[in-house]
């Protein structure tokens, strides 16, 4: 909802990699907010809704480590008491990928279609990194882009302090953790920080602006790889889930 360009960039990347992309109308949310709040019922309902919506496809791709992590790591366990459903969920969750790992490991993408000039730094979002092992894939894709220079921050693996509802329940702690990350980003002198998760983006960008940094751009990996960075509302481009 916040930045439709990211979804269009995702579609472009997938199409460039030779995929036929569909975005099923029936999709809503993977259920993670409910799951992390302790509401197993809503998490299971949404997992079933997801299964019905996506079971017909070969692969499901999300431009988000935390949605993909929810599906791959936590969905099967939600159905531990229902073996039949668990098997169906498991089969589909094994075909569910975070975008950059799908592009590298399944599509074998060597060179992304976009162009980028300048110095960036990359933030490892927690779920992608620790639940799915997304670390080398985005860097491999970024480094293959001529004109793009990647400078690592001191600890790219450190949490940005978002944490879903944590960001509003414990806003002061959350902001204070973000400030550590922001100091690291600024130390690299990169004009742009790139990441693969939307929650981190909303949080870090909001905190950067609140602290008076209007310069440092916060971009989704897909936007950088697809070179859609100048495209704004209304123009045409691509998506999020796919086949």
């Amino acid at each position: 909802m916040m930045r439709p360009e990211i979804a269009f960039a995702t579609v472009r990347l997938l199409e460039d990699a030779g995929c036929q992309v569909e975005v099923p109308v029936g999709q809503t949310c993977c259920g993670q907010p409910g799951f992390n709040a302790g509401d197993q019922t809503v998490a299971r309902d949404l997992a079933l809704q997801w299964l019905q919506t996506f079971e017909q496809f070969d692969y499901v791709v999300a431009p988000s480590g935390s949605c993909a992590g929810m599906i791959r790591k936590h969905y099967p366990d939600l159905f531990r008491h229902d073996p039949d459903l668990k098997i169906r969920i498991q089969r589909l969750s094994e075909r569910t990928w975070e975008l950059s790992s799908f592009l590298v490991e399944v599509c074998g993408m060597q060179k992304p279609p976009g162009r980028f000039q300048g110095l960036i730094t990359y933030h490892d979002s927690c779920s992608g990194l620790r639940e799915l092992g997304v670390q080398a894939q985005p860097r491999q894709l970024l480094r293959s882009m001529p004109g793009l220079e990647l400078k690592e921050m001191n600890d790219p693996r450190a949490c940005c302090g978002f944490g879903g509802s944590f960001a509003v329940k414990y806003g002061a702690i959350s902001a204070s953790i973000a400030d550590e990350k922001i100091a690291q980003i600024q130390q690299t002198a990169a004009s742009c920080v790139v990441m693969g998760d939307l929650g981190c983006m909303l949080h870090l960008e909001g905190r950067l602006r609140r602290c008076g940094d209007q310069q440092t751009r916060v971009m989704h990996l897909a936007e950088v790889l697809a070179g859609e960075t100048q495209v704004h509302a209304g123009s045409v481009t691509p998506s999020k889930e796919e086949s």
């Binding site: 909802m1 916040m2 930045r3 439709p4 360009e5 979804a7 269009f8 975005v23 109308v25 999709q27 809503t28 949310c29 259920g31 907010p33 409910g34 992390n36 709040a37 302790g38 509401d39 197993q40 809503v42 309902d45 949404l46 809704q49 927690c126 779920s127 620790r130 693996r157 450190a158 949490c159 302090g161 978002f162 944490g163 879903g164 509802s165 944590f166 960001a167 509003v168 329940k169 414990y170 806003g171 002061a172 702690i173 959350s174 902001a175 204070s176 953790i177 973000a178 550590e180 909303l202 949080h203 960008e205 909001g206 905190r207 609140r210 704004h232 509302a233 045409v236 998506s239 999020k240």
Partner: protein, 473 residues
């Protein structure tokens, strides 16, 4: 120790505003995180050591009663008296009773977190017995009006050298010192007569070993031996989950504990204490007691939180926790802080007294990554959130919000329409601005950060337009 966990939020605010504490907490990331990383790198088989150690802990816990009885038999055979306490308060009573039986006036203590659960010092004082903390950190806390520890390995981590200098000058009534060596020397000079005049030593027990009836201790300052070997009486207090079947188990876990805790390949002192002083031996206590405390531990067996009993109290989870690094240990309000504390405290003192603890985590997962016992701490925190939710312990606003979101998310058409409406509203509200400083109803977010305005119509709407224009002739 009194439970103060319900004040987490207020306390964490104070801690964030405390510049001195913030500077002291930075030591965590620079010293402990880096220290662990290099100590782990020394092992070429870290992962398999870890797997092996986890299996050994699981083996012990799977037949906990059997191993505890074996420990009791072997320890008793060697002259140790093994006592059992269902609650920390009972354990305190036992220690006081032992002290009275042996006409003890002064007790020297080596660091023990279980004794914090027991509030042992208060119980001893109430019985007219003088407890003296001899771990340097614990000593500093004791002379500072019995301040509680803020870290399970480094109890005084929240203080810097200057604060300790001031405290020593005030309490010791001596000229203010500024060199760490001199300050340590001064503390030793104060402690020495206590060691020599002590009738009874109390220590914790990192592990108890079933096959030999021994107590194993990892320490760094040398005070432990002065408490366990010098006095006539030695009492070790520890949790019932700390039993290891064999010395080989201990050797395996010893490869992980100091490395994960302080980044040392082995702690400065490592003792295996077995039985009382035998005829012809030059040192060791005449009377040796081990008190095994339940304190809520047996309630975790066989349940969702059993993995927590594997914990070896290294503190790596808190050292690596982004929240602990910001608020320190006191904010958590009881004996055990950080991720392990946020699981243990509700389990030991009650879920309704600790509502913030499982919520005050970003679930970043780093605690699970660094835990030498591979305890799935984020999953356990989430399970505690489930318990809170099931029991209706969350605030009404949160429950209503969650219900409203669930209602929409289960109805795709409605969800799409709401997204469209929210996006339009936000864009209207933002006008030409890319970021909003205030959003009605989202004060908890915008109090600390801006809210990015949507950059266009939601993707779902744009995508639908694109598809329909494609299919139109």
């Amino acid at each position: 120790m009194q439970v103060q966990s319900m004040h987490f939020k207020a306390r964490s605010g104070q801690k964030l505003a405390d510049q001195r504490l913030q500077a002291n907490l930075k030591k965590l990331s620079s010293k402990w995180v880096a220290g662990r990383a290099s100590a782990i790198a020394e092992l070429d088989d870290f992962e398999s050591t870890r797997d092996d150690a986890v299996q050994r802990r699981e083996r012990a816990l799977a037949n906990l009663d059997v191993w505890l009885e074996r420990f009791e038999q072997e320890a008793t055979r060697r002259g140790t008296v093994v006592l059992w306490a269902e609650t920390p308060a009972e354990a305190s009573k036992l220690v006081v009773a032992i002290a009275k039986r042996h006409q003890v006036r002064k007790v020297t203590k080596s660091k023990s977190m279980v004794s914090e659960e027991m509030a042992l010092n208060r119980a001893l004082e109430a019985a007219g017995i003088e407890p003296v903390e001899t771990d340097l950190g614990e000593y500093i806390l004791q002379i500072n009006n019995n301040e509680p520890p803020s870290h399970i390995v480094a109890p005084v981590l929240h203080k810097d050298k200057d604060e300790v200098s001031d405290l020593f000058a005030k309490v010791h009534q001596k000229p203010r010192l500024t060199e760490v060596n001199q300050m340590t020397r001064e503390a030793r000079e104060v402690l020495r007569p206590h060691f020599l005049g002590s009738d009874m030593g109390v220590s914790g027990g990192n592990f108890v070993i079933a096959e030999t009836g021994s107590v194993a201790l990892f320490t760094n300052e040398g005070n432990e031996g002065m408490c366990t070997i010098v006095p006539r009486v030695h009492v070790a207090v520890t949790g019932i989950e700390k039993v290891l079947p064999t010395l080989e188990d201990l050797a395996m876990i010893a490869r992980l504990l100091p490395r994960s805790a302080t980044g040392q390949s082995i702690s400065n002192y490592f003792s295996i204490l077995t039985g009382t002083r035998s005829a012809g031996e030059l040192d060791g206590p005449e009377h040796h007691y081990v008190i095994l405390v339940d304190g809520g531990r047996s309630g975790l067996l066989g349940g969702d939180f059993e993995a927590m009993l594997r914990c070896i109290r290294c503190g790596a989870c808190m050292n690596h926790c982004p929240v602990y690094q910001k608020v320190g240990g006191h904010a958590y309000g009881w004996v055990y802080p950080g991720p392990m504390g946020s699981v243990l405290t509700p389990a030991y003192v009650g879920i309704e007294k600790t509502l913030d603890l499982p919520q005050a985590a970003t679930l970043c997962g780093e605690c699970h990554v660094v835990c030498p016992m591979k305890i799935p701490l984020p999953d356990l925190l989430r399970k505690l959130r489930e318990r809170q939710f099931e029991r209706g312990l969350r605030p009404l606003g949160e429950r209503l919000g969650l219900a409203a979101w669930g209602f929409l998310a289960r109805r795709p058409s409605l969800y799409r329409i709401s997204t469209l409406a929210a996006s339009r509203l936000l864009r209207w509200f933002a006008g030409t601005k890319a970021h909003l400083r205030h959003v009605p109803g989202a004060g908890a977010w915008t109090q600390h950060r801006d809210f990015a305005a949507p950059s266009g119509k939601p993707f779902s709407a744009q995508w639908a337009q694109r598809q329909s224009s494609k299919t139109r002739p």
